[in-house]
């Protein structure tokens, strides 16, 4: 009897030791992620917190010591006095509202076509993808040339088919469409993601529909679309988050003031101007907090409603 207790005692000690040893070893895991974690603290966490704090202060260039705390004044000014706030928000949402859905549709349609066991698929895929590889500044300048009112290719084609030429970059009405056209040229990255998703759909599912006598449209409606909803969701989310932060294209194409009547003044440009031209860092921080809140709310809303339309075939196991 005593011997049994002693053995149990002994084993429990051993188990505890093993557990302790296992824990120690597992700290190696923490060591592995240390560079990322350091970066997370320095470049994500602290800036995020400090940005929030700044937004309640009147931090300007040359402010010494702690910036003066002004509470909600920045926010009040933004919502009541700042005309460029609503203008730049409108411009950004306008851009997003067209650019994101159009990109998704083009990317999805081309991916569908490419997935139809087309001969020369690799070549077509490359041709559609290559524009997305073109550096943004170069792509923007290329389109600035193509959209030039006097000698650009777009107006050339317009004249050939009998349409009046358009003042793409010098008329307030056409700056945003120009930016949308530029964004469409880069749908290749999303197309690749769609294509990969399409190729992972098991072909026996299609065969099952075919046996039931279903044609192409039914396959699309009942197999492809439901199984592609996670990919569509992913692309939508990334597209919206990216679209809100459009900057370089506008900077290069129409300049910091957003072109004639500020028709191209996007939200990020407003933040940039406030911070790096007017040096009103506190005010710019408040602007950025508002943009963050909008993106955050939208992300939460998308994720929340995604339960209704996104189909996760393999359960939530992967999300752990």
């Amino acid at each position: 009897m005593n011997a049994t207790i002693a053995r149990q005692h002994d084993e429990s000690w051993r188990a505890r030791f093993q557990e302790w040893w296992f824990r120690c070893r597992s700290w190696i895991g923490f060591l592995f992620i240390l560079p990322w974690f350091a970066g997370f603290v320095i470049f994500d966490l602290m800036p995020f917190a400090y940005n929030l704090y700044l937004s309640f202060t009147d931090y300007q260039i040359g402010t010494q010591g702690a910036p003066p705390w002004i509470g909600l004044e920045n926010y009040l000014e933004i919502f009541t006095k700042d005309k460029l706030f609503s203008k730049s928000m409108y411009n950004t949402v306008y851009y997003l509202g067209f650019s994101v859905p159009l990109r998704l549709i083009f990317a999805f349609l081309i991916a569908l076509l490419l997935n139809m066991r087309v001969r020369g698929m690799e070549l077509y895929r490359t041709l559609f993808y290559v524009p997305s590889v073109v550096p943004l500044v170069a792509a923007t300048l290329i389109f600035a040339g193509l959209l030039n009112t006097r000698y650009g290719l777009f107006n050339h084609v317009f004249l050939l088919v009998g349409l009046p030429p358009v003042r793409w970059l010098s008329s307030p009405d056409w700056i945003k469409p120009s930016l949308i056209i530029l964004s469409l040229w880069g749908f290749g990255a999303q197309m690749i993601i769609f294509l990969a998703g399409l190729q992972s759909i098991p072909s026996d599912l299609y065969e099952a529909v075919a046996i039931d006598g279903g044609g192409g449209l039914r396959r699309l409606r009942h197999i492809t679309l439901p199984l592609m909803t996670p990919t569509i969701f992913f692309n939508l989310l990334i597209g919206v988050i990216g679209g809100f932060q459009i900057f370089a294209q506008v900077f290069v194409m129409v300049g910091v003031d957003g072109g004639p009547l500020g028709a191209g003044l996007v939200y990020m440009m407003h933040v940039y101007n406030k911070a790096f031209r007017d040096f009103e860092f506190g005010y710019a921080a408040a602007l950025s907090v508002i943009l963050f809140s909008i993106i955050f709310a939208l992300t939460v809303a998308l994720v929340y409603t995604s339960n209704r339309w996104v189909f996760y075939g393999d359960g939530a196991e992967d999300a752990a």
Binding site: W36, A196, P230
Partner: protein, 284 residues
Amino acid sequence: MIENPAARRIRQLFVYSALTLGAVVMMVPLLWTVSTSLKTRDKVSIRQLELIPDPIHWQNYVDIFTKQPVLQQARNTMVIVAASLFGALVPCTLAGYAFARIPFPGRRLLFGLLLATMMLPYVVRLIPLFLFFDEIGWTRTFGPLVLPRLLGHNAFYIFLYRQFFRGIPNDIYDSARIDGCSELGVWWRIFMPMSIPVIAAVSIFAFEFAWNDFLNPLIYLGSNRDLWTLALGLNALRGFEGADGSLNLVMTFSMLMIIPMLVVFYFGQKHLISGVTAQGSLKG
């Protein structure tokens, strides 16, 4: 499904014409760029369709080096690219490996934070980071552009690695560990060699994002012309020459920025798709 041959023929015809039309439209801006980069100055500002310029003005590709210090800008850009590649190859793979394989305390929480930072827009970090780097005297240096990249500060890369590593069978990991291989050994000798597709894909992204970055060099290096990157140089060239002036040279410079990207893409493209999508990385 048995389809009658005529319908099939028509369908194929439709698919090929749609794809070809689309591909041509996508290629026109690039062809126009190549063509314009080889035109003389007086040819660019007249409305005239001319795919192959006459004369072909190769001199643009010589002149551009006198308009901007292109070589210096290329070197500066490569410094940032190199930091980005190092970060993508070492710290990011280590972190991805730990998140995929090592059950350390707090892993779930930390991985949740990692995913959260993927959704964190850059704009909320822009101003505090600038003030921070200004405080320690790093503006007008490569520091702010290089340090985050050296640390592998990119949640997206780590996420891609983690998804790929999770797809590597447990048996391989277990047997290596039983044979006395350390975690570091498993990472370096087994997981890294088995993960060439995802490593290639992430490296392409790392190259591309560093090569194309505009906002950060603009803010930190804008006032220090010696450290300008190609993206800043290209933007400035357009500004100096005016909107109409030397469009041919602007396109020549654009070509100099596009060609390296095309080379990188050409060598990496076969991994790009398999690396990003392996093991359902989009479902996490």
